[in-house]
Symmetry: C5
Subunit: 87 residues, 5 copies
Protein backbone atom coordinates (compact mmCIF):
# COMPACT_ATOMS: atom_id res chain seq x y z
CA UNK A 1 0.00 0.00 0.00
CA UNK A 2 1.00 3.66 -0.26
CA UNK A 3 1.12 6.25 2.48
CA UNK A 4 -0.82 9.34 1.42
CA UNK A 5 -2.31 12.57 2.72
CA UNK A 6 -5.92 13.57 2.03
CA UNK A 7 -6.07 17.03 0.42
CA UNK A 8 -9.67 17.26 -0.77
CA UNK A 9 -12.49 15.54 -2.60
CA UNK A 10 -13.85 15.33 -6.15
CA UNK A 11 -17.29 16.47 -7.31
CA UNK A 12 -18.36 14.57 -10.44
CA UNK A 13 -21.91 14.35 -11.73
CA UNK A 14 -21.32 12.39 -14.97
CA UNK A 15 -19.75 9.11 -13.87
CA UNK A 16 -20.16 5.37 -14.00
CA UNK A 17 -23.11 4.13 -11.90
CA UNK A 18 -21.06 2.18 -9.33
CA UNK A 19 -19.34 5.44 -8.35
CA UNK A 20 -22.60 7.14 -7.39
CA UNK A 21 -23.05 7.75 -3.64
CA UNK A 22 -19.38 7.05 -2.98
CA UNK A 23 -16.83 9.49 -1.56
CA UNK A 24 -13.99 10.27 -3.98
CA UNK A 25 -11.00 11.73 -2.12
CA UNK A 26 -8.00 13.53 -3.61
CA UNK A 27 -4.82 12.17 -1.95
CA UNK A 28 -1.12 12.82 -2.45
CA UNK A 29 1.46 10.07 -1.74
CA UNK A 30 3.91 10.95 1.06
CA UNK A 31 7.16 9.41 2.28
CA UNK A 32 7.85 8.09 5.78
CA UNK A 33 8.45 11.63 7.05
CA UNK A 34 5.14 12.90 5.60
CA UNK A 35 6.74 14.81 2.72
CA UNK A 36 4.77 14.76 -0.58
CA UNK A 37 6.43 12.37 -3.05
CA UNK A 38 4.10 11.70 -5.96
CA UNK A 39 1.24 12.95 -8.05
CA UNK A 40 -2.28 13.43 -6.77
CA UNK A 41 -4.55 10.42 -7.16
CA UNK A 42 -8.19 9.69 -6.44
CA UNK A 43 -9.22 7.02 -3.94
CA UNK A 44 -12.61 5.84 -2.73
CA UNK A 45 -13.31 6.22 0.98
CA UNK A 46 -15.68 4.64 3.46
CA UNK A 47 -13.74 5.53 6.62
CA UNK A 48 -14.73 9.22 6.61
CA UNK A 49 -11.17 10.41 6.11
CA UNK A 50 -10.87 14.20 6.02
CA UNK A 51 -8.41 16.74 4.62
CA UNK A 52 -5.12 16.48 6.52
CA UNK A 53 -5.56 12.82 7.49
CA UNK A 54 -2.76 10.39 6.62
CA UNK A 55 -4.21 7.25 5.03
CA UNK A 56 -3.27 3.87 3.54
CA UNK A 57 -4.03 3.57 -0.19
CA UNK A 58 -4.59 0.09 -1.60
CA UNK A 59 -4.39 -0.25 -5.40
CA UNK A 60 -6.02 -3.52 -6.45
CA UNK A 61 -9.43 -3.90 -8.05
CA UNK A 62 -10.58 -7.00 -6.19
CA UNK A 63 -9.43 -5.71 -2.80
CA UNK A 64 -11.11 -2.36 -3.46
CA UNK A 65 -14.43 -4.09 -4.22
CA UNK A 66 -14.12 -6.04 -0.94
CA UNK A 67 -13.34 -2.98 1.16
CA UNK A 68 -16.19 -0.97 -0.39
CA UNK A 69 -18.56 -3.94 -0.07
CA UNK A 70 -19.53 -3.67 -3.75
CA UNK A 71 -18.55 -6.87 -5.54
CA UNK A 72 -19.72 -5.57 -8.93
CA UNK A 73 -18.25 -2.06 -8.70
CA UNK A 74 -15.51 -0.60 -10.93
CA UNK A 75 -12.68 0.54 -8.67
CA UNK A 76 -8.87 0.51 -8.65
CA UNK A 77 -7.68 2.50 -5.59
CA UNK A 78 -9.29 2.72 -2.13
CA UNK A 79 -8.49 4.12 1.32
CA UNK A 80 -7.94 0.96 3.43
CA UNK A 81 -7.29 2.69 6.75
CA UNK A 82 -6.42 5.89 8.57
CA UNK A 83 -2.88 6.15 10.03
CA UNK A 84 -2.55 6.91 13.74
CA UNK A 85 1.23 7.09 13.60
CA UNK A 86 4.41 5.52 12.15
CA UNK A 87 6.98 3.91 14.47
CA UNK B 1 -7.85 6.63 -10.18
CA UNK B 2 -5.84 9.40 -11.86
CA UNK B 3 -6.91 12.96 -12.55
CA UNK B 4 -6.28 13.80 -16.21
CA UNK B 5 -7.06 16.33 -18.90
CA UNK B 6 -8.43 15.35 -22.31
CA UNK B 7 -6.20 16.74 -25.11
CA UNK B 8 -7.45 14.90 -28.17
CA UNK B 9 -8.39 11.56 -29.65
CA UNK B 10 -6.72 8.73 -31.59
CA UNK B 11 -7.58 7.62 -35.12
CA UNK B 12 -6.59 3.97 -35.66
CA UNK B 13 -7.88 1.76 -38.46
CA UNK B 14 -5.82 -1.40 -37.80
CA UNK B 15 -6.74 -2.47 -34.28
CA UNK B 16 -8.14 -5.33 -32.25
CA UNK B 17 -11.86 -5.96 -32.92
CA UNK B 18 -13.13 -5.02 -29.46
CA UNK B 19 -11.71 -1.52 -29.97
CA UNK B 20 -13.83 -0.88 -33.07
CA UNK B 21 -16.62 1.70 -32.60
CA UNK B 22 -15.10 2.91 -29.34
CA UNK B 23 -13.77 6.39 -28.63
CA UNK B 24 -10.03 6.47 -27.85
CA UNK B 25 -9.09 9.69 -26.06
CA UNK B 26 -5.62 11.10 -25.52
CA UNK B 27 -5.35 12.29 -21.88
CA UNK B 28 -2.53 13.74 -19.81
CA UNK B 29 -2.38 13.16 -16.01
CA UNK B 30 -2.64 16.38 -13.95
CA UNK B 31 -2.07 17.19 -10.30
CA UNK B 32 -4.62 18.66 -7.88
CA UNK B 33 -3.99 22.15 -9.30
CA UNK B 34 -4.53 20.97 -12.90
CA UNK B 35 -0.84 21.10 -13.85
CA UNK B 36 0.34 18.33 -16.24
CA UNK B 37 2.34 15.73 -14.31
CA UNK B 38 2.81 12.64 -16.47
CA UNK B 39 2.99 11.24 -19.93
CA UNK B 40 0.10 11.11 -22.35
CA UNK B 41 -1.98 7.96 -22.20
CA UNK B 42 -4.95 6.59 -24.11
CA UNK B 43 -8.27 5.89 -22.38
CA UNK B 44 -11.57 4.61 -23.69
CA UNK B 45 -14.56 6.91 -23.28
CA UNK B 46 -18.32 6.49 -23.21
CA UNK B 47 -19.13 9.75 -21.41
CA UNK B 48 -18.53 12.00 -24.44
CA UNK B 49 -15.61 13.79 -22.80
CA UNK B 50 -14.10 16.49 -25.01
CA UNK B 51 -10.77 18.27 -25.29
CA UNK B 52 -10.23 20.43 -22.18
CA UNK B 53 -12.41 18.31 -19.90
CA UNK B 54 -10.89 17.05 -16.64
CA UNK B 55 -11.65 13.35 -16.18
CA UNK B 56 -11.12 10.38 -13.85
CA UNK B 57 -8.98 7.61 -15.36
CA UNK B 58 -9.46 4.09 -14.01
CA UNK B 59 -6.69 1.59 -14.83
CA UNK B 60 -8.01 -1.93 -14.26
CA UNK B 61 -9.04 -4.38 -16.96
CA UNK B 62 -12.09 -5.84 -15.25
CA UNK B 63 -13.42 -2.44 -14.17
CA UNK B 64 -12.86 -1.08 -17.70
CA UNK B 65 -14.89 -3.95 -19.19
CA UNK B 66 -17.72 -3.19 -16.74
CA UNK B 67 -17.76 0.54 -17.46
CA UNK B 68 -17.70 -0.01 -21.23
CA UNK B 69 -20.35 -2.74 -20.97
CA UNK B 70 -18.19 -5.15 -22.98
CA UNK B 71 -17.34 -8.16 -20.80
CA UNK B 72 -15.16 -9.75 -23.51
CA UNK B 73 -13.28 -6.63 -24.60
CA UNK B 74 -9.54 -5.99 -24.24
CA UNK B 75 -9.08 -2.80 -22.24
CA UNK B 76 -6.80 -1.47 -19.51
CA UNK B 77 -7.63 2.23 -18.97
CA UNK B 78 -11.04 3.95 -19.19
CA UNK B 79 -12.59 7.35 -18.42
CA UNK B 80 -14.83 6.62 -15.38
CA UNK B 81 -16.27 10.10 -14.99
CA UNK B 82 -16.00 13.79 -15.80
CA UNK B 83 -14.84 16.12 -13.01
CA UNK B 84 -17.07 19.07 -12.11
CA UNK B 85 -14.63 20.42 -9.54
CA UNK B 86 -12.17 19.56 -6.75
CA UNK B 87 -12.83 20.77 -3.20
CA UNK C 1 -3.03 2.25 -23.11
CA UNK C 2 0.32 3.87 -23.92
CA UNK C 3 1.34 5.56 -27.14
CA UNK C 4 4.64 4.13 -28.35
CA UNK C 5 6.96 3.98 -31.35
CA UNK C 6 8.28 0.71 -32.74
CA UNK C 7 12.10 0.74 -32.89
CA UNK C 8 12.97 -2.88 -33.58
CA UNK C 9 12.37 -6.49 -32.62
CA UNK C 10 13.86 -9.07 -30.25
CA UNK C 11 15.52 -12.33 -31.26
CA UNK C 12 15.30 -14.88 -28.41
CA UNK C 13 15.82 -18.62 -28.79
CA UNK C 14 15.55 -19.69 -25.13
CA UNK C 15 12.08 -18.61 -24.04
CA UNK C 16 8.83 -19.86 -22.61
CA UNK C 17 6.86 -22.06 -25.07
CA UNK C 18 3.89 -19.71 -25.48
CA UNK C 19 6.27 -17.05 -26.85
CA UNK C 20 7.45 -19.27 -29.70
CA UNK C 21 6.28 -18.14 -33.19
CA UNK C 22 5.24 -14.74 -31.86
CA UNK C 23 6.67 -11.39 -32.89
CA UNK C 24 8.39 -9.53 -30.02
CA UNK C 25 8.72 -5.82 -30.82
CA UNK C 26 10.90 -3.26 -29.07
CA UNK C 27 8.82 -0.09 -28.49
CA UNK C 28 9.51 3.21 -26.75
CA UNK C 29 6.66 5.18 -25.12
CA UNK C 30 6.07 8.63 -26.69
CA UNK C 31 4.04 11.65 -25.66
CA UNK C 32 1.23 13.27 -27.65
CA UNK C 33 3.78 15.06 -29.85
CA UNK C 34 5.67 11.84 -30.60
CA UNK C 35 8.64 12.64 -28.35
CA UNK C 36 10.16 9.66 -26.51
CA UNK C 37 9.13 9.72 -22.84
CA UNK C 38 9.96 6.39 -21.22
CA UNK C 39 12.12 3.32 -21.27
CA UNK C 40 12.07 0.72 -24.01
CA UNK C 41 9.66 -2.15 -23.46
CA UNK C 42 8.80 -5.33 -25.31
CA UNK C 43 5.32 -5.93 -26.70
CA UNK C 44 3.84 -8.82 -28.66
CA UNK C 45 2.49 -8.00 -32.11
CA UNK C 46 0.03 -9.59 -34.50
CA UNK C 47 -0.70 -6.46 -36.57
CA UNK C 48 2.60 -6.54 -38.49
CA UNK C 49 3.78 -3.23 -37.04
CA UNK C 50 7.18 -2.16 -38.35
CA UNK C 51 10.00 0.11 -37.18
CA UNK C 52 8.77 3.72 -37.19
CA UNK C 53 5.10 2.86 -36.70
CA UNK C 54 3.25 4.52 -33.82
CA UNK C 55 1.24 1.95 -31.90
CA UNK C 56 -1.11 1.48 -28.93
CA UNK C 57 0.34 -0.64 -26.12
CA UNK C 58 -2.08 -2.45 -23.82
CA UNK C 59 -0.63 -3.75 -20.52
CA UNK C 60 -3.03 -6.33 -19.07
CA UNK C 61 -2.51 -10.08 -19.10
CA UNK C 62 -6.07 -11.14 -19.84
CA UNK C 63 -6.52 -8.57 -22.59
CA UNK C 64 -3.18 -9.58 -24.13
CA UNK C 65 -4.26 -13.24 -24.25
CA UNK C 66 -7.51 -12.19 -25.98
CA UNK C 67 -5.77 -10.01 -28.58
CA UNK C 68 -3.18 -12.71 -29.37
CA UNK C 69 -5.89 -15.41 -29.46
CA UNK C 70 -3.92 -17.58 -27.03
CA UNK C 71 -5.98 -18.05 -23.86
CA UNK C 72 -3.22 -20.06 -22.12
CA UNK C 73 -0.26 -17.89 -23.09
CA UNK C 74 1.96 -15.89 -20.71
CA UNK C 75 1.84 -12.26 -21.77
CA UNK C 76 1.68 -8.82 -20.15
CA UNK C 77 2.01 -6.18 -22.89
CA UNK C 78 0.68 -6.30 -26.47
CA UNK C 79 0.29 -3.99 -29.48
CA UNK C 80 -3.49 -3.42 -29.67
CA UNK C 81 -3.51 -1.25 -32.78
CA UNK C 82 -1.53 0.96 -35.16
CA UNK C 83 -2.09 4.71 -34.93
CA UNK C 84 -3.14 6.56 -38.10
CA UNK C 85 -3.03 9.95 -36.41
CA UNK C 86 -3.86 11.93 -33.26
CA UNK C 87 -6.45 14.74 -33.37
CA UNK D 1 9.67 -8.47 -6.63
CA UNK D 2 11.38 -5.41 -5.18
CA UNK D 3 14.34 -5.28 -2.81
CA UNK D 4 13.51 -3.06 0.16
CA UNK D 5 14.66 -2.11 3.63
CA UNK D 6 12.34 -2.16 6.65
CA UNK D 7 12.32 1.24 8.40
CA UNK D 8 9.38 0.95 10.78
CA UNK D 9 5.77 -0.04 11.18
CA UNK D 10 2.33 1.60 10.93
CA UNK D 11 -0.18 2.00 13.78
CA UNK D 12 -3.73 2.27 12.41
CA UNK D 13 -6.89 1.76 14.44
CA UNK D 14 -9.53 2.62 11.82
CA UNK D 15 -8.94 0.15 8.99
CA UNK D 16 -10.61 -2.54 6.94
CA UNK D 17 -11.34 -5.73 8.97
CA UNK D 18 -8.95 -8.04 7.08
CA UNK D 19 -6.06 -5.78 8.13
CA UNK D 20 -6.76 -6.27 11.85
CA UNK D 21 -4.13 -8.35 13.70
CA UNK D 22 -1.68 -8.04 10.83
CA UNK D 23 1.72 -6.38 10.91
CA UNK D 24 2.00 -3.36 8.61
CA UNK D 25 5.65 -2.52 7.90
CA UNK D 26 7.04 0.68 6.39
CA UNK D 27 9.66 -0.28 3.76
CA UNK D 28 11.79 1.72 1.33
CA UNK D 29 12.87 0.18 -2.01
CA UNK D 30 16.68 -0.15 -2.38
CA UNK D 31 18.96 -0.93 -5.31
CA UNK D 32 21.41 -3.84 -5.56
CA UNK D 33 23.92 -1.93 -3.40
CA UNK D 34 21.34 -1.23 -0.69
CA UNK D 35 20.91 2.46 -1.55
CA UNK D 36 17.36 3.85 -1.19
CA UNK D 37 15.77 4.26 -4.63
CA UNK D 38 12.04 4.85 -4.23
CA UNK D 39 9.28 6.11 -2.03
CA UNK D 40 8.21 4.48 1.21
CA UNK D 41 5.50 1.86 0.88
CA UNK D 42 3.55 -0.31 3.28
CA UNK D 43 3.77 -4.11 3.15
CA UNK D 44 2.15 -6.82 5.26
CA UNK D 45 4.52 -9.10 7.15
CA UNK D 46 4.29 -12.57 8.66
CA UNK D 47 8.04 -13.28 8.77
CA UNK D 48 8.75 -11.02 11.76
CA UNK D 49 10.96 -8.67 9.76
CA UNK D 50 12.40 -5.85 11.84
CA UNK D 51 13.80 -2.38 11.20
CA UNK D 52 17.05 -2.67 9.24
CA UNK D 53 16.18 -6.00 7.61
CA UNK D 54 16.40 -6.24 3.82
CA UNK D 55 13.29 -7.93 2.44
CA UNK D 56 11.59 -9.06 -0.78
CA UNK D 57 8.37 -7.19 -1.58
CA UNK D 58 5.80 -8.93 -3.75
CA UNK D 59 3.07 -6.72 -5.27
CA UNK D 60 0.18 -8.91 -6.44
CA UNK D 61 -3.14 -9.29 -4.69
CA UNK D 62 -3.62 -13.03 -5.20
CA UNK D 63 -0.06 -13.85 -4.20
CA UNK D 64 -0.36 -11.63 -1.11
CA UNK D 65 -3.52 -13.47 -0.01
CA UNK D 66 -1.68 -16.81 -0.43
CA UNK D 67 1.37 -15.71 1.54
CA UNK D 68 -0.74 -14.26 4.38
CA UNK D 69 -3.00 -17.34 4.36
CA UNK D 70 -6.12 -15.15 4.10
CA UNK D 71 -7.93 -15.97 0.84
CA UNK D 72 -10.59 -13.28 1.44
CA UNK D 73 -8.30 -10.48 2.62
CA UNK D 74 -7.71 -7.15 0.86
CA UNK D 75 -3.98 -6.83 0.19
CA UNK D 76 -1.68 -5.61 -2.56
CA UNK D 77 1.92 -5.74 -1.24
CA UNK D 78 3.50 -8.29 1.13
CA UNK D 79 6.93 -9.21 2.46
CA UNK D 80 7.66 -12.58 0.78
CA UNK D 81 11.02 -13.25 2.40
CA UNK D 82 14.00 -11.84 4.29
CA UNK D 83 17.26 -11.42 2.35
CA UNK D 84 20.38 -13.10 3.72
CA UNK D 85 22.63 -11.64 1.04
CA UNK D 86 22.96 -10.80 -2.67
CA UNK D 87 25.60 -12.53 -4.81
CA UNK E 1 7.81 -7.09 -20.89
CA UNK E 2 10.96 -5.28 -19.80
CA UNK E 3 14.46 -5.71 -21.13
CA UNK E 4 16.87 -6.30 -18.24
CA UNK E 5 20.39 -7.43 -17.42
CA UNK E 6 21.12 -10.12 -14.85
CA UNK E 7 23.54 -8.83 -12.20
CA UNK E 8 23.37 -11.51 -9.51
CA UNK E 9 21.13 -13.65 -7.37
CA UNK E 10 19.45 -13.47 -3.95
CA UNK E 11 20.11 -15.80 -1.01
CA UNK E 12 17.08 -15.93 1.30
CA UNK E 13 16.43 -18.61 3.90
CA UNK E 14 13.27 -17.21 5.52
CA UNK E 15 10.73 -16.98 2.71
CA UNK E 16 7.31 -18.15 1.64
CA UNK E 17 7.19 -21.90 0.83
CA UNK E 18 6.46 -21.56 -2.90
CA UNK E 19 9.75 -19.68 -3.29
CA UNK E 20 11.81 -22.59 -1.94
CA UNK E 21 13.99 -24.35 -4.54
CA UNK E 22 13.53 -21.51 -7.02
CA UNK E 23 16.24 -19.28 -8.44
CA UNK E 24 15.83 -15.61 -7.49
CA UNK E 25 17.83 -13.38 -9.83
CA UNK E 26 18.72 -9.71 -9.35
CA UNK E 27 18.10 -7.87 -12.65
CA UNK E 28 18.35 -4.23 -13.70
CA UNK E 29 16.08 -2.85 -16.47
CA UNK E 30 18.01 -1.60 -19.54
CA UNK E 31 17.03 0.46 -22.58
CA UNK E 32 17.30 -0.63 -26.22
CA UNK E 33 21.04 0.19 -26.21
CA UNK E 34 21.65 -1.88 -23.06
CA UNK E 35 22.10 1.12 -20.75
CA UNK E 36 20.68 0.70 -17.21
CA UNK E 37 17.42 2.62 -16.86
CA UNK E 38 15.66 1.57 -13.69
CA UNK E 39 16.00 0.15 -10.21
CA UNK E 40 17.09 -3.38 -9.46
CA UNK E 41 14.29 -5.91 -9.19
CA UNK E 42 14.05 -9.60 -8.39
CA UNK E 43 12.75 -12.11 -10.92
CA UNK E 44 12.33 -15.88 -10.76
CA UNK E 45 14.27 -17.89 -13.31
CA UNK E 46 14.00 -21.37 -14.81
CA UNK E 47 16.08 -20.70 -17.93
CA UNK E 48 19.45 -20.77 -16.12
CA UNK E 49 20.20 -17.12 -16.91
CA UNK E 50 23.55 -15.98 -15.57
CA UNK E 51 25.16 -12.67 -14.63
CA UNK E 52 25.62 -10.56 -17.77
CA UNK E 53 22.76 -12.17 -19.70
CA UNK E 54 20.11 -9.88 -21.19
CA UNK E 55 16.64 -11.22 -20.40
CA UNK E 56 12.91 -10.54 -20.86
CA UNK E 57 11.06 -9.78 -17.62
CA UNK E 58 7.33 -10.50 -17.50
CA UNK E 59 5.38 -8.88 -14.63
CA UNK E 60 2.03 -10.64 -14.25
CA UNK E 61 1.13 -13.11 -11.54
CA UNK E 62 -0.83 -15.58 -13.65
CA UNK E 63 1.73 -15.62 -16.43
CA UNK E 64 4.54 -16.09 -13.89
CA UNK E 65 2.76 -19.12 -12.40
CA UNK E 66 2.39 -20.61 -15.90
CA UNK E 67 6.04 -20.07 -16.84
CA UNK E 68 7.29 -21.53 -13.54
CA UNK E 69 4.84 -24.43 -13.80
CA UNK E 70 3.54 -23.75 -10.29
CA UNK E 71 -0.16 -22.88 -10.47
CA UNK E 72 -0.42 -22.23 -6.72
CA UNK E 73 2.81 -20.26 -6.27
CA UNK E 74 3.08 -16.61 -5.19
CA UNK E 75 4.98 -14.74 -7.90
CA UNK E 76 4.84 -11.38 -9.67
CA UNK E 77 7.91 -11.11 -11.95
CA UNK E 78 9.66 -13.87 -13.92
CA UNK E 79 12.37 -14.23 -16.58
CA UNK E 80 10.40 -15.30 -19.70
CA UNK E 81 13.36 -15.69 -22.05
CA UNK E 82 17.00 -14.90 -22.74
CA UNK E 83 17.74 -12.30 -25.45
CA UNK E 84 20.01 -13.34 -28.33
CA UNK E 85 19.98 -9.87 -29.87
CA UNK E 86 17.84 -6.83 -30.74
CA UNK E 87 17.30 -5.85 -34.39
Amino acid sequence: MKLAKVVGNVVSTIKTPSHQNKKLMVVIPVDASGKECGDAMIAFDRFHAGAGDYVLILEEGGAARDILGDPKGSFDAVIAGIVDRLN
